[in-house]
Subunit: 124 residues, 4 copies
């Protein structure tokens, strides 16, 4: 098996990532999980997530029925799982990358300029 054993198995994301690697390994699906295909699969799931919201008003989207909410949660799970697979294949540490990006965003969107505005940083 080609996956390194994650060190901290108490961590929820690492644990899920290891379970996924095992699931894929058992099915010999690693041959399909190259980065290009995984990026596509993630976009496909993002589209399926989007589908649930396309005709809803903002108010309706805030008040999903329990069954729709569950369907939405399952699409979100798919997005997360392909993201973890891609991270695995590219040896990207997602949490570290998110920390880095959040730091960049703090610089691009200083509180005093960005407060209450959805304007993109290059137009702030």
């Amino acid at each position: 098996m080609r996956y390194a054993v994650p060190m901290d198995m108490d961590d929820s994301l690492r644990k899920l990532s290891a379970e996924l690697a095992h699931f894929v390994d058992e099915r010999d699906w690693d041959q399909f999980h190259n980065p290009k295909n995984l990026a596509m699969a993630l976009a496909v799931e993002a589209g399926e997530l989007l589908e649930h919201f396309q005709w809803l008003s903002e108010v309706e989207a805030e008040a999903l029925s329990p069954s729709t909410r569950e369907e939405v949660a399952m699409e979100m799970a798919d997005v997360l799982m392909f993201l973890l697979r891609l991270a695995d294949r590219l040896h990207v540490d997602l949490i570290e990358s998110a920390g880095k990006k959040l730091k960049l965003n703090r610089q691009k969107y200083p509180v005093e300029k960005a407060r209450g505005r959805a304007t993109k940083y290059d137009k702030l």
Copy 2:
């Protein structure tokens, strides 16, 4: 502040989610972060991730330059962050949902039938 303090702050995903909620709260961006908009933002980031791979061969996509790999990691971070925001707004536990979906996938794709095949479950 409307976000409940996550209990286990040693967990990497919970910690990131709390940091994000704080980042959004400081900027008063919660007004834009309704579920419909967040699902759109997630799909937009999935598209930006995809863009890095669109003209690459499978072989090239396996061997990204360090700078491209870093750009890809930053897009992946964006996807993760909007996914966490959406989970926050919909009160979805991402890890629990992924565990549930993975269990469903084990049933939909039994090892003996799915091994080495990328066929969708309804055509297996």
Copy 3:
């Protein structure tokens, strides 16, 4: 009915656009077809199109079975139809816009620099 009658009904795109407007009008769906929702619906259909290709090798994607090719054609039709709806709602002339964008692309990608290269214009 709020749609202007297109002038040249021999033109295939104008004809389709008028048929679509009629289809929507009969069902009183214009209330859902605001630009934001239509942009989402278009992205959803682009994701469904993508799904057909996600696990295929380049070679397999060039040699679709007749039934898959037909499914792909139906997804492409969906993309076109939401694009026409959006153009209708935003009063955008798609053909004129494409002509303009193609002219811009000729400038951004001069033949002598771009020949045989998939590099983005800002890195050419």
Copy 4:
């Protein structure tokens, strides 16, 4: 040159498709324009289109500034152009396919059942 000359050059879509084929041919880009890559490129452009609407309210999305509307039109042009390229590569007649899909939609969404409702056909 591998593209058949379209017959009816008065037709706006055929004319654009031929101009695009020429643009690609001059740059020797056909090697990148396989169906898999084109489906990805189309999804990327759909994401860029979506980006313009992600933080807008429905009302704001109906009243785009002239400059935003022009940017949106250029993204719509990109979607159309990759759709035409894909149609070219897969030998799909877009107008014929859309006519076929519209006919199917008339059956799936009969006026009396679908009027004023955004419900998906399988839940009507």
